[in-house]
């Protein structure tokens, strides 16, 4: 029975440090205990792979036969979460797709995180969950990573840089220089979805839409496409600058012309409506889950059907042809049957006034 005549002995007590498990603070980037805890408790549960679990400063990997394909992409997006995706899914898919359009199978990914002081941990966790899901879907391992923390106001929540490694079977040459007159130009689905979804989520449209970003890993679709059309000449994902800018790049690289058919280019009604209202051209709006395929005519139909069988390619369409005329230029046959130049995007996309 406690003797109530003795006051409870408290003694001198140091205040316990706050746990800081709800938001990122500068100490999370110090390299010390907080950094270790962050990596162990927050990152590794989501991004574990055998090389990561080794906890070395490097990853040692097996290399299949073939040439190495490597690609790096920095990801910044505001807001961090948008309909259909988030910066985590974007960071995985963006690099996976850059590898996949070489014809290689992406296998490994590294990720560098710049975190802004004050970022809620649960936000980081949502992003990591999303990266895990995207990596799983794409069939790749995240094998190395790094984290730095910057002061509040020096970054926009999270920036993620990913580097991907893939391996290309011998004898396969797919790049922007291979387009040949007579080739058929295919796109795997509707254009402009990602850019408009992000703009809408920023509240910049002044109206709400149901548009979802198309951000997706395309390596599965591309492998099926290549099985059906093994002599594919060019693959490229039309991200920033949109379909028009990407095709201009390829036309310049391959020293060919292109003729597109406006009516054949798939555009979702909501994207078209948003673009009409704001004076944007959907052909210049970013995509994150579409691929352009330039294939020889005899394989065009097989390539198209292969894409349409894949969930990410069900709106795949034949949109034009590579020509020997108009060297380096992309021409558009408009809906009223006239032909005009479809140029690269100049600078920022600006809404028209009236």
């Amino acid at each position: 029975m406690p003797d109530s005549s003795f006051p409870a002995m408290q003694g001198p007590v140091c205040p316990l440090p706050l746990k800081h498990d709800d938001q990122i603070i500068l100490g999370h980037g110090s390299g010390g205990r907080l950094t270790h805890d962050l990596i162990k408790n927050i990152f590794l549960p989501y991004l574990s792979s055998p090389p990561l679990l080794q906890a070395d400063d490097f990853a040692r990997l097996n290399k299949p036969d073939g040439e190495v394909i490597i690609s790096t992409d920095c990801h910044i997006v505001s807001p961090l979460f948008f309909p259909g995706g988030d910066i985590g899914r974007l960071a995985v898919c963006g690099t996976v797709n850059d590898i996949a359009v070489s014809g290689a199978q992406p296998l490994y990914l590294t990720a560098g995180f710049i975190l802004e002081e004050g970022l809620p941990i649960h936000t980081l966790v949502r992003i990591l969950e999303s990266m895990r899901a995207a990596a799983h879907e794409a069939g790749i391992q995240i094998v190395a990573g790094d984290t730095k923390v910057v002061e509040k106001g020096k970054a926009d929540g999270v920036f993620i840089t990913t580097t991907g490694l893939g391996f290309l079977p011998q004898g396969r040459t797919i790049n922007g220089h291979q387009a040949q007159p007579g080739d058929v130009i295919l796109v795997s689905g509707s254009v402009g979805d990602h850019g408009i979804a992000v703009l809408a989520e920023r509240g910049e449209l002044g109206f709400s839409t149901q548009i979802q970003s198309d951000v997706a890993p395309l390596n599965g679709l591309i492998q099926e496409l290549l099985a059906a059309a093994p002599h594919t000449h060019v693959l490229r994902d039309p991200t920033r600058g949109g379909l028009a800018t990407t095709l201009n790049e390829i036309a310049a690289q391959s020293q060919v012309g292109m003729l597109l058919h406006e009516n054949a280019i798939p555009i979702q009604p909501a994207v078209r409506a948003a673009c009409e209202m704001l004076g944007f051209d959907p052909l210049y709006i970013a995509n994150e889950g579409k691929v352009i395929a330039i294939v020889p005519p005899q394989e065009a139909e097989a390539a198209l059907q292969a894409m349409r069988r894949h969930p990410y390619g069900n709106l795949a369409s034949r949109i034009g042809e590579v020509t020997s005329d108009f060297n380096g230029r992309v021409l558009l046959k408009t809906s009223i049957g006239a032909t005009r130049v479809l140029d690269m995007l100049a600078g920022e996309i600006l809404p028209r006034i009236c």
């Binding site: 910049e204 449209l205 002044g206 406006e262 009516n263 009604p269 078209r272 409506a273 009409e276 704001l278 004076g279 051209d281 005329d325 108009f326 230029r329 021409l331 408009t334 809906s335 009223i336 049957g337 006239a338 032909t339 005009r340 130049v341 140029d343 100049a346 600078g347 920022e348 600006l350 809404p351 028209r352 006034i353 009236c354």
Partner: protein
């Protein structure tokens, strides 16, 4: 309407070509028509309509792009205001790339100025409410179409008692510009496509005296390819029959009297003033300025930039292009060094500017290619 239906209706190849065929059948000689509005220039070039029209129809592109006609000195005033640390400068996106004497709003933003793109002046009012310690300035440019929302923003700011909101006004009007074009001795324009959006606000009754004074037929015209062809058909029919009227070829949108509610808002806030037009010069009563009772919202007075005066690049022939005297291809600077990335003059900046429209959609002519 379902916008996907556009390609089967107002952008339908068969219907557009059938309408063009009607024009071809009544044509007996060449005619020079001007589309006033930059939005129409953009639509013509974007659809490639100019290539489908009979060669006898020459379309010249009018001064109806608000970005293009905003005078350089006003851009310089905008830059001076936007550079102030207490200012949040709000503008329609197109204005950011218009070169002032030394720089543009984009580069000012890159060097730290708080310049924001808004889609509506009412967004700028919201920003002013959210930032009571900052000065929020909206660049109120445009023709009759932007005047109602721009005026509304001033009324809203007044109703809210906002002391930190002001507007840098560059409102211009279509009819005085038409007078200026038609009274020039070198004028070639024989008929006008009137700007559908402007007429939506103002109606088209003011145009009949101009049509009769200069003996030029006019048609209120929309923005889709089929609308444009119908407007052209209407004007060509009058020209061929030697008739002068103002017809409405955009009746699904435009009423003769316009939108009286919008006009009332304009009248409350603005009064007619003389304005300088970039490339054209001073046109009397060609714009609107704030009425004296709203002078507290006048950014030019608030920031004392009234004394700024500037002049244009000698290479740029924007003035002649805006008056329809020359085509962009006739400019020695077109394409080199003047491009949308490096514009010497305003018509190369806006998507509605004649030079930018030519650069983006029609360089085939200048390169001799297909």
């Amino acid at each position: 309407m379902d916008l996907n239906l556009l390609n089967q209706t107002l952008r339908d190849e068969r219907q557009v070509k059938a309408e063009i065929e009607k024009i071809r059948r009544i044509l007996t000689r060449p005619w020079v028509l001007m589309e006033i509005c930059g939005g129409q220039t953009h639509a013509i070039m974007q659809s490639g309509l100019d290539q489908l029209l009979p060669a006898e129809i020459e379309l010249v592109h009018g001064p109806g792009c608000p970005v293009c006609v905003t005078p350089l000195e006003l851009i310089d005033k905008a830059l001076a205001i936007a550079a102030r640390p207490e200012v949040i400068f709000c503008s329609f996106g197109d204005m950011l790339r218009v070169p002032g004497s030394n720089r543009d709003l984009f580069s000012l933003r890159a060097s730290g100025a708080d310049v924001r793109v808004v889609y509506s002046p009412l967004d700028a009012v919201k920003i002013a409410q959210q930032n009571p310690q900052r000065e929020v300035v909206f660049f109120a440019i445009g023709f009759e179409t932007t005047a109602p929302p721009n005026a509304m923003s001033v009324l809203q700011a007044k109703a809210l008692g906002l002391k930190n909101y002001s507007v840098l006004v560059s409102q211009v009007l279509v009819p005085p510009a038409m007078h200026a074009i038609l009274s020039a001795p070198q004028n070639r324009v024989q008929g006008f496509l009137l700007a559908g959006h402007v007429c939506t606000v103002m109606g088209y009754q003011d145009y009949l005296p101009i049509a009769e004074q200069y003996y030029v037929p006019m048609a209120v015209t929309g923005f889709e390819p089929l609308d444009l062809v119908r407007g052209i058909y209407s004007v060509v029919t009058m020209l061929e029959n030697n008739e002068v009227r103002v017809e409405n070829a955009y009746a699904r949108v435009v009423k003769p009297e316009g939108n009286p509610a919008a006009q009332a808002i304009i009248q409350r806030v603005f009064q007619p003033v003389d304005r300088n037009w970039r490339g054209i010069g001073r046109i009397p009563h060609s714009g609107w300025g704030l009425r004296p009772e709203f002078s507290e919202f006048d950014a030019e007075l608030r920031f004392d930039v009234g004394s700024i005066q500037t002049h244009e690049s000698p290479l740029c022939i924007a003035g002649q292009i805006l008056q329809g005297l020359k085509k962009p291809f006739n400019c020695t600077a077109f394409g080199d060094p003047c491009t949308p990335q490096n514009p010497l003059g305003a018509p190369m900046v806006s998507a509605e500017g004649a030079c930018a429209a030519y650069y983006r959609f029609a360089r085939t002519n200048s390169t001799g290619m297909g």
